[in-house]
Symmetry: C2
């Protein structure tokens, strides 16, 4: 089976961890073991992943060092996180495949994701990124850099950036070529670096964040996989989550998924975009499926005995 695996942040950095290289390395090794098991079962996999905590740390390092070194913009920080996380993943998967086979090439491609400069998201930035600021710092940043700032969870002010819709992947031809050749391709980390095209065609990086599962749904269609496997830190999709009438699903139709989304059953920062992306991959297709499951149950999820399988 052809599978695009979309790894959540917890595959590399878990809640409550500080994010040392040793912690991340241990998490990535464990993730690589799960992925290698899928490959040994004969699944043909491509991989994408989130980058929230990592790009947050890189932004914070840039901010703290800003009096000495010019801080890099968000698109460049995102590219740094793609390099960092791709390296960790490909090193760990390489080690697994060298130890237990099969001997497939593993590679990370730096990926740029095209968005529309007229996407309505640019008028309404919603995604907080980077460090917290005081009210006066916040006012200064608004004035100096034109940043949009919000008061965030009582801890201070944060920059908000838009989250436009991914439209295309500039490196798609190479991703498809390598996937067809049997390579384990890691791409579009953090949803890819968001770029727009100027009127003269020049590609320009923009300061925005992409939802990695939205990009994953696009990438899954581009690569032509049968299954989009979204791995996260919950075991399946629930409605009425945390309430007495909570209900988890082994299976969900596109129609029901849309209904629950419309009811506001899924938080916009977490399960919402996953269900939306699953639906956007599956809808209007006969055979495609999306599975939302925990990293630990990846194998069972592909067999249909764990997680939530979404079909038409």
């Amino acid at each position: 089976m052809k599978v695009l695996v979309s790894l959540g942040g917890n595959a590399i950095l878990q809640r409550g961890q500080k994010g040392t290289a040793v912690e991340q390395d241990a998490n990535v090794r464990s993730t690589a073991k799960h992925l290698a098991r899928l490959i040994r079962r004969g699944e043909r996999i491509a991989i994408t992943h989130g980058n929230g905590p990592q790009v947050g740390n890189i932004l914070l390092q840039n901010e703290i060092a800003k009096d000495i070194l010019p801080p890099m913009p968000l698109d460049v920080c995102g590219a740094e996180s793609q390099g960092m996380m791709g390296y960790m993943l490909q090193k760990a998967i390489r080690s697994e495949l060298d130890a237990g086979g099969p001997n497939l090439p593993v590679t990370t491609l730096m990926t740029q994701t095209l968005v529309d400069a007229k996407d309505p998201a640019f008028k309404k930035p919603t995604k907080p990124v980077g460090p917290f600021y005081s009210a006066s710092e916040s006012a200064e940043l608004k004035r100096l850099k034109g940043w949009r700032m919000i008061s965030d969870s009582g801890r201070g002010y944060r920059r908000v950036v838009p989250s436009p819709r991914p439209l295309d992947i500039l490196e798609k031809e190479t991703i498809v070529r390598l996937f067809k050749a049997g390579t384990v391709v890691i791409s579009a980390g953090g949803g890819g670096v968001p770029v727009v095209r100027d009127r003269d065609g020049t590609v320009k990086g923009i300061e925005a964040v992409l939802d990695k599962d939205r990009t994953a749904a696009l990438l899954a269609r581009i690569v032509g996989v049968d299954t989009l496997l979204i791995l996260t830190d919950v075991e399946k999709v629930f409605i009425n989550y945390g309430k007495p009438n909570q209900r988890g699903f082994d299976k969900m139709t596109v129609a029901n998924g849309r209904r629950y989304l419309a009811e506001g059953q899924f938080p916009s920062g977490s399960m919402g975009p996953k269900v939306e992306s699953a639906i956007s991959f599956v809808a209007d297709s006969g055979k495609r499926r999306a599975v939302i499951a925990s990293l630990e149950s990846a194998e069972e999820a592909l067999r249909g005995t764990a997680g939530t399988t979404i079909t038409n």
Copy 2:
């Protein structure tokens, strides 16, 4: 002709610049114009590049923020710099090729370079990396982290790391596949992230720096190019540099190059490894050539009318 272009640090960040994203972007755009001209002449190019100033800045950001965020080791910082610089280069080259053709895929591959854990360099670390420290900080880092420290140019103490010889490139199969397919492949930035194999085969990143031109010579053989084009900020190879009897070369044989190297004509931190790498690529081959030239004269250098061409 098949050409591996090895870009010096000045292709991305020039001496005296602060390293803002705007400066780097402008340099990279200019570099991309030179590279696009080569491609339009019909050259089939692969690209590699240095990362000295960029990885230095990332290390310094990690150091400054270390009380708040766990600093990443040198191999991870190197991977970040590959992501950052690969992104900048591929964005600029993509823009150039979209504007003036030809429509070739452009991609950056995260690259790991295998070294020998028994390389004698590990016993004698020589390459200063990262920030300057006071004498007491230096003593503390020696004690706490086991770092080797040197007193550097009267400005304080710096960590020194080994510079082992690159032996193999873990992602070579993918690099070759994409090059053959006509893709403009950017790989082995900063010489690649240096890794060793443990006894059980596990790939482990190590804290070392690679000479990017040494890796370039290896990569040039792996890819099977005819020409290794080393672009830097000097116009050609000189002996007796800066003296009244200074002499620049349009052509140099391997035998003469070896003789001048033995005479200590070339500084070990700059022209020395370039001439060595040129020789290691050209030696024992009938037709191969290496050219050392300035970025601005890349086209003339390939025609043999600028720079120094090294042949057997």
